[in-house]
Structures are given as structure tokens and as C-alpha cells.
């Protein structure tokens, strides 16, 4: 529970911080899912806290923070909402190759997709609306893509990312989850 609160406070802190300056910030929108049948959407607001361009090969290194939110559906099982403050290291090569890695101490909220009945103290069954649960979902990820702004002059980049998360608690311990993102990054101002 302490970890869940920490995730939410971090997320709130980042949202306040990213309001200050829109220079070099970007919006990320992607498909998010465990498989094609567990599908969803994710969006994030990226804010650079460090950026350096190497003069020799014009490659760019960045450290970004990004409040993000994902929604997905695992049919006949649950709907999931993942809110995460992400910390991303990203490198864009001179030809536009994008490589990234990062961490996200995420908050996970899920709603069971079905009518849920709880056993009451006197042994009766009582319907509960919006039944589900809360969990801490620490995540690490690696990604790759192409910054189309570098050579083609387009105003967006594409990327794909593999997330490895651990849901805590899950039954008697924890559950490792894998998920994929495929999407685009839209800078607010041309850099």
C-alpha cells in the first residue's frame, strides 16, 4: 500500500513539474497490450530533464520523465488502468535510430469484468459494483524506434517498447507480466 501511494505522489509531482515549460516536451500515444487479445491504449507526456547533443556524430542523449496512463482490457477477466511516473533514458542516433530504457514504479488498478458477489459475514452473497483491486506494478522497459524528424523532416517519431512488470500483491505472492507498446511520439515544438 505504501508503494502504491508513493507511485501516485510521484505521478502528481511530475504532473506539476511538467506544467512549467512546454519547450522540447512531447506527447506519446501507443497501443498497449499483453497480446493482441488483451488490448489497450497508453498515453504519456514526456518532459526532458537532461539533454545533450554529441558534436562528433550529432547523436542526442536525453533523460526524460513522463507521467503516463494506460488502459487495457483482458476480456472476461478484467479492465486495467496503469498510472506511472516513468524515468526514461533515450538516445537518438544521427540517422534517427531511437533506443531507450527506463523504469516506472506504477500504480495498477483493475476492475473485474463480470458480476462479482462477496460472501458476507452471515454467509449471504452480496453483489459488489466495480469490484477489483489495487496493486503496485514496478516496471522496467527497453524500446527502440525511429525519429522520423531527423532525416525525413516529419513531426513525429515511432517507437516500440517491451515492459516487464511485477504485480504486487497477486494471490499469495507476485505476478510477472509482459506487455508491449507500439506508438508515436509527437514533439510539441520542433527542436
Amino acid at each position: 500500500m505504501k508503494n502504491i501511494h508513493l507511485s501516485l505522489y510521484l505521478m502528481l509531482g511530475l504532473l506539476i513539474l511538467t506544467q512549467k515549460n512546454t519547450q522540447a516536451q512531447s506527447l506519446r500515444i501507443s497501443y498497449y497490450g499483453e497480446t493482441i487479445t488483451h488490448y489497450g491504449l497508453k498515453t504519456a507526456y514526456e518532459y526532458p530533464i537532461f539533454s545533450k547533443i554529441k558534436e562528433r556524430n550529432q547523436s542526442r542523449k536525453m533523460l526524460l520523465i513522463a507521467p503516463s496512463a494506460a488502459l487495457y482490457r483482458h476480456p472476461r477477466n478484467h479492465f486495467g488502468i496503469i498510472i506511472a511516473p516513468e524515468l526514461i533514458y533515450r538516445r537518438i542516433g544521427k540517422r534517427g535510430t531511437l533506443l531507450e530504457a527506463g523504469i516506472a514504479p506504477a500504480y495498477f488498478r483493475y476492475f473485474l469484468e463480470g458480476s462479482t458477489y462477496q460472501v458476507t459475514a452471515n454467509g449471504e452473497l452480496e453483489r459488489i459494483r466495480y469490484a477489483g483491486g489495487n496493486a503496485f506494478l514496478p516496471t522496467v522497459f527497453v524500446g527502440t524506434g525511429r525519429a522520423l524528424s531527423v532525416r525525413r523532416g516529419l513531426s513525429f517519431d515511432w517507437y516500440t517498447r517491451l515492459n516487464i512488470s511485477q504485480q504486487r500483491p497477486y494471490n499469495t505472492s507476485a505476478l510477472t507480466r509482459f506487455s508491449l507498446e507500439i506508438g508515436a511520439i509527437f514533439p510539441f515544438k520542433k527542436q
Partner: protein
């Protein structure tokens, strides 16, 4: 503009017609229910012919296995009855925050009671039958010999499962010894002979050694992973959380080391009054057919029938699916 107007008018007419249809019971039921009890959120998927007013509640094995993952084999039954696939606590797609101290027979039986109660509440006119496999059979005996629970049930189909840990392990060793001799495996024979199973040593005997030899000697060569179609169905069409399946077994160490070793329902089987059909894969080494034959002798106060599957091991519904489903149909009829 005219085209858009026409399109909207047509759509509105279709929607009105659709909403005016009879609100009778849907012929095909597809419902997802969850039972929340003592930390666990346990899914119960109900599929099939709602007009039959018969529900077969599948009690999966394991413990820690899954129910819906076997729908691939039972789906055909849904034409004639409803099948309720229940994932037990810390199994299949069950979730929540569960204390491992609840992983006891008594708790599984209590969960089963509320699952049946929930089904009776949702389908007040339906008769409920249990289809129990392996650990599910242990759960069924626990449930049916507790209080008046059997009054809620119209019949039990027990598939390759035990009523007594002692009699189970005794027969597993006998099965392995027979095979060791047949296969001229001197090492297996020597080790099995050195580990006899008696009523007195049941709680301490090296059961893993006996179990390992049984498997090595071909006690259950059937692997779901060999069936690519099944795997694709599991990965993309089942509501299971694929990786969760591999995390459950860790929670059952107490069950394996203590709880299951004390399991003994032999003396209580005479209290069973509901019809029972025993389904057995006769080549099974995991729960040998002799366990089934002993079960039949102990069920002295009810009608018992047995269906043996000559080409099957531990899961006859996988190896002889058609014959298995026909036997279920004829029992539930």
C-alpha cells in the same frame, strides 16, 4: 446530407426492432461471475445451453490448475447443458490477495459451497452436477461429506482422483513396481522396494521418489504442450493470465508436505447418497485405476457406475474426448 439522414433513420429503425425482441432466457448462456471470499476473487464462467436447466460444475485438478483452459475439450458439451468453469483460489485466473494459510481442504470446500450457492441463485431451476478431476475429486469428497452439502448436488462425475492419500500412494507404488518389472528397470525396482507404503508411514514415506519413478515409467505421457491448436487457443482465446499459471504451484508446499498426506475420506463414502459415475483412464499411473475400483466398493449407499477409458492416462477428456463427453451426457441426461 440526405444520405446521412437516411443512414441514421435506418439505424434507428434497426435499433428499435432489436430492442423490441422477446426478453426470454437466452438459449446460449455466456456469463462471467466472480466469487469474492477470504481474499480471493474466483471467476466462474458459465457457458452453454441455458434451456437445459442443467449445470455441470467443473472442479479442476492441481491444486492450482485451471478450469477454463480445458474448455477446449468440454466445449461440445455446451450444446446440451451449461458448463460452469470455476477457477479455485490461487489457481487459473483467480486473483486477489490471498493468505496461503487458506489453502486447505476445508477452505476449498467452503468456496465450493458458495460457488454452488451462487449458481443456484443465478439459475434457480437448474440441477447442478459436479465433474471433478484429480485434486477436484479430493475437493468433491471433502465438499460432499461436509454438512448437508450433497443435497445441493444432483450427481458426481469423478475422474481419476483419490479418496485417501494412503490408498493412493500405495497404488502408485504398486503401479510403478509393476511397470519397473515389465520394463526390466532394476534401479526403479530396487528403490521402490526400499520404500514400502503402509498406513503407519504415509505421512513420512518418500512420496516424491515413488511419484518420480511412476512418471519416468510412463505414468502419464500426455502433454498439453504437444497440441499446438490447444496452445494457440489457451494463449489467445482463454481468459486465463498465461504466466499466472506457473506461479500458483509455489503456494501449495504445505498442501504437498502436510495437508494432502492427512487426506482420508474412505470411511465417509458410505454417506454419499447422490448418484456417482467414476471415469478412469486405465493406463494412468498418477491415480491408478485400482483407486477407482476401491472407491466403487466404498460407495455402498448410492448407485455407482464406472466408465473406463482404455486408451487414456490421467486426463481421459484429452485423449478420448468424444467418448468422455458422451459418458458425461448420458449421466446428466
Amino acid at each position: 446530407m440526405k444520405t446521412i439522414h437516411k443512414l441514421f433513420t435506418s439505424l434507428a429503425i434497426i435499433l428499435i426492432l432489436v430492442s423490441c425482441k422477446d426478453q426470454d432466457v437466452e438459449p446460449t448462456e455466456q456469463k462471467t461471475l466472480f466469487l469474492r471470499h477470504k481474499g480471493a476473487d474466483m471467476p466462474v464462467w458459465v457457458h452453454g445451453n441455458a434451456q437445459s436447466n442443467k449445470i455441470v460444475l467443473y472442479l479442476h485438478g492441481g491444486p492450482g490448475d485451471c478450469a477454463m483452459c480445458y474448455r477446449y475439450y468440454f466445449k461440445e458439451l455446451e450444446n446440451d447443458m451449461m458448463v460452469a468453469y470455476w477457477d479455485q483460489r490461487v489457481a487459473g485466473a483467480s486473483s486477489g490477495k490471498v493468505d496461503s494459510a487458506t489453502l486447505r481442504y476445508a477452505q476449498f470446500s467452503e468456496d465450493a459451497f458458495y460457488v454452488v450457492k451462487l449458481l443456484k441463485q443465478q439459475y434457480p431451476n437448474a440441477q447442478i452436477y459436479l465433474l471433478a478431476h484429480s485434486f477436484g475429486v479430493e475437493l468433491a469428497w471433502q465438499f460432499l461429506t461436509t454438512n448437508n452439502n450433497q443435497q445441493m448436488i444432483s450427481g458426481l462425475m469423478a475422474v481419476n482422483g483419490m479418496f485417501s492419500y494412503y490408498r493412493w500412494l500405495y497404488h502408485v507404488r504398486e503401479w510403478a513396481l509393476r511397470e519397473a518389472k515389465k520394463q526390466n528397470n532394476a534401479e526403479a525396482e530396487r528403490e521402490l522396494m526400499a520404500n514400502p507404503v503402509t498406513l503407519e508411514n504415509t505421512a513420512t514415506v518418500n512420496w516424491e521418489l515413488i511419484y518420480r519413478w511412476m512418471h519416468k515409467l510412463g505414468g502419464n505421457p500426455v502433454s498439453l504442450y504437444d497440441d499446438k491448436k490447444y496452445l494457440a487457443n489457451y494463449a489467445f482465446a482463454s481468459p486465463n493470465t498465461a504466466l499466472a499459471q506457473f506461479t500458483h504451484s509455489k503456494a501449495y508446499s504445505y498442501y504437498g508436505e502436510v495437508e494432502s498426506r492427512l487426506f482420508e475420506k474412505g470411511a465417509l463414502l458410505k454417506n454419499i447418497r447422490i448418484p456417482v459415475r467414476l471415469f478412469w483412464g486405465v493406463k494412468d499411473g498418477v491415480v491408478p485405476v485400482e483407486v477407482g475400483r476401491e472407491t466403487q466398493q466404498l460407495l455402498t449407499n448410492t448407485s455407482v457406475s464406472t466408465v473406463e477409458f482404455s486408451q487414456s492416462w490421467h486426463e481421459p477428456f484429452i485423449t478420448e474426448t468424444q467418448e468422455f463427453n458422451n459418458a458425461v451426457r448420458s449421466f446428466v441426461k
